[in-house]
Subunit: 496 residues, 2 copies
């Protein structure tokens, strides 16, 4: 995948900050310019949310974080950047002015994207010297989780620019969809505005309140649209007879006076008061930060669920996530400092997420094994058994596991795990893993596991290749000098 | 929760059949009337999809399935029913006629709901003798998974009827939302129609194709709406300043010519051809059955993800699922035949779902432990350690586990598990669980586990009460006569 080498963010509010988070978590350095006195604080908060979300989202090895530098001018920020993202307030004159300054200060090869949610790219690129590399890249909040960027070119944008932008978004986990023509508000905000206008009428006319309207959406078509959108959902509704049948069946409604959209509601003080009061009744018990946290956890859970879709291939945003993770695995987490083999290896830092706890808030039994398995995966990557190796047809499979539970972990608890190699030969690898409470260093659970190196197509164990054994050797030799941990060799219920 | 005792479904297409599936899977008998010659086949197919979905959706003990009886007349079908659901084709005269017949044939106390997606309840109840117990209960496809029913009363509907309907939907896992006033198409279809009209313009004007439009939805606000809907999402967008700020900021767009909804597109042959061709290009590689399967798996995954939301409390549809499951646990699966203790207990039948496999399609290591843990839960329920028992402050906790992997399971593989009690005293319970391939009876994995009875508040082991030990005793005594399974007492890597 063609990657961004260095990014610049002009405008560092919620949107610009979340772009910056996307970039730095994918290992890309960002130079940021925003004259707002609070910019550094806002970007820091957004980055904090993004890091928290990514820790729940993926076990793939994130590269070392890129660096954010706050610059004193647009010129300073864009220097050396090959992707510049403009996210200043939504006023045509302001945006056009900023984009023209960016254009003048950068290499003509650099891509320049605008986060505008509605302005036409032709209007924005009017005064540029190199307008062919300018486009709209309209993201959705929270930008660090939702993968969509609508890519829209203006009259002077080259088709190659849009293709290049699409390619460069993939390695940061985003899906650039290219629109055929520019219109104000593009596609997503057109659809949202239609629902918004109809929704305002429903509240205005007292058909329902805001909470009921939200319930209607989230208990029904919201969950259909999270995975399939409008047309594919209706294709299924049409049954075996297909889309034509659906259109024939539901077409007549178009001529019925079902929506009030032929008229536009007057958003006067009375309607604003009504909506604000209903919204307070619906959501006011929780602060915005809490709602953001819940939203992000839900989005993570939905994306992980979709990652398992279509027989494990991934579906919708889950497929984008799977591709992002594959990219991260292949990339292998980048250059990290050489681990120290003179003690059990600390391989994993994680946190008990919402999907890991039972109704009492305790970490569920099988999630411990998930952490043990993820820890073992980290060891395997360390000795060259990475994604490419497994895809080429060999791997290590677990054949036997012994687990002891020594303590409890609750929702939000930070954990880390260490691994000590106990014994190994050309086929066998036996090791001991411990999960710790990261605050107290108390051991919560231990596992002794035995793995065999296998030819996964033939389905039988075979000797590991020289390369892998060579990487394993210094670890095994160093760990052989360590004391054997208490608990090794136990059978279930054995007296101490 | 106030429960439906017996249901009648008048009309057995995709919607009526899915209502029937909701009822029978919640243990309610259904009498069905539909003169269509294919009705029995269609209902059977929908029920098959629903059973497949529920097997993935929940580990809670479903009650013994209700019975579906196909009747020869409306009169025969509605006899003795306390909930009658009408789902005949969407024509006012036909529906009114059917509803009037239902009314005449039933006890005046029975609730009568209509599945209409747009007709006004006042128009439908016009000729009824007991119109006060009639309402619209508008569900969304697939009815067996999506929890929403819009409850809408007509001029003659009593408020008590809507409350009673809401109460009776909860034990079948549905959320009835009550609208304040009737309008054609209610709330959900109003919003859908607004998006549909705007979407048709976007395709008509070649701004994008159907696939791009769907991608825009599913990679962005679709995932937001699956959990929160419109107003709560915008509340977050307003930030700490709240809903008023959001309204002030985005209100002006209402006066911009952003949507074309002031006009309605002509759905002529050219536009139908365009949409059908684009939809074929987008989704034609997969049949409708395959798309349905993928949709249901995704919905299951999304609901399970949302069940873990809000710190494990459940959020949105996940909270509805959690409440449904709690109801099932408390209900305890109803009367089942006495298990046979003279062999290891077959406690669980399941299937390898999409969320359980790695990218190779193999069941992931930690999901085996999930099946072992779920099997142990079934044993615990058998001896009275059920939801209420655990909530009251005592439980059995796993302290030690030994797992052997003997084979592999792939996506879709049917599995079952058996459990043999090895030893027990007043605090300790040691047992041996085996997971089998349900087609070949090959053992895929075994676990030996030790549990301790605990006071979960005090966090220490205590003797189990007499009741629990008394239920455990006959199982333990019968299993003591069985041979000790091969593998018991092993430590990791021990020679056979």
């Amino acid at each position: 995948m063609s990657s961004i080498q260095k990014a610049a963010c002009i405008g560092g509010g919620v949107i610009g900050g979340a772009w910056a988070a996307r970039f730095v978590l994918a290992g890309i350095d960002v130079d940021m310019y925003d004259p707002h006195p609070e910019a550094e604080r806002i970007v820091g908060e957004v980055l904090g949310n993004a890091e928290r979300a990514y820790a729940m989202l993926t076990m793939a090895p994130l590269p070392p974080r890129g660096k954010i530098t706050f610059c004193k001018s647009i010129k300073e920020a864009v220097e050396g950047a090959d992707w510049i993202q403009e996210s200043v307030p939504e006023r045509l004159e302001l945006k056009r002015n900023v984009i023209t300054q960016i254009d003048a200060a950068t290499d003509p090869q650099a891509l320049i994207g605008s986060s505008t949610s509605g302005l036409m790219p032709t209007d924005l690129q009017r005064d540029m010297k190199h307008p062919e590399r300018f486009f709209v890249a309209h993201p959705y909040n929270p930008v660090y989780l939702l993968p969509l960027a609508e890519l829209v070119g203006g009259q002077k944008t080259s088709p190659e620019t849009l293709k290049a932008a699409q390619e460069k978004l993939a390695p940061i986990g985003m899906k650039g969809v290219i629109l055929k023509k520019e219109i104000e508000a593009f596609v997503g905000d057109r659809l949202l505005e239609a629902v918004w206008r109809e929704g305002l009428w429903l509240i205005h006319d007292d058909i329902c309140d805001t909470e009921t309207l939200d319930d209607v959406i989230r208990y029904s078509f919201g969950m259909r649209w999270a995975q399939m959108g409008l047309f594919e959902t209706y294709r299924i509704a049409g049954g075996e007879a297909g889309m034509r049948h659906f259109l024939a069946q539901f077409g007549p409604c178009l001529s019925w006076p079902w929506t009030k959209l032929t008229d536009v509601v007057d958003l006067d003080d009375a309607l604003i008061d009504k909506i604000a009061a209903q919204s307070d009744a619906q959501s006011g018990a929780r602060g915005i930060r809490e709602l953001e946290r819940i939203r992000d956890e839900n989005l993570v859970g939905i994306m992980q669920a979709l990652k398992a879709g279509d027989g494990g291939q991934g579906w919708g945003a889950g497929k984008i996530l799977a591709e992002f993770e594959k990219h991260l695995w292949v990339q292998g987490g980048g250059a990290k400092k050489e681990p120290d083999f003179s003690a059990p290896l600390r391989l994993l830092d994680t946190k008990v997420g919402a999907a890991w706890v039972d109704y009492n808030g305790h970490m569920t039994e099988y999630r411990y094994l998930q952490v043990f398995a993820d820890t073992a995966d980290m060891l395997l990557r360390l000795i060259g058994v990475d994604f490419a190796y497994v895809e080429a047809g060999h791997s290590y499979y677990t054949v036997e596991t012994h687990i002891r539970h020594l303590g409890e972990a609750k929702l939000g608890q930070k954990l880390y795990s260490t691994l000590q190699v106990l014994s190994s030969d050309d086929k066998r690898l036996r090791f001991f893993t411990t999960i710790y409470n990261a605050e107290t260093n108390e051991a919560l659970a231990t596992a002794e596991q035995l793995m065999l190196h296998v030819d996964s197509k033939a389905g039988k164990s075979v000797a590991a290749p020289f390369d892998v054994l060579a990487k394993l050797k210094p670890i095994a030799e160093a760990h052989a000098k360590l004391p054997i941990p208490e608990g090794v060799g136990r059978s279930v219920g054995q007296k101490r």
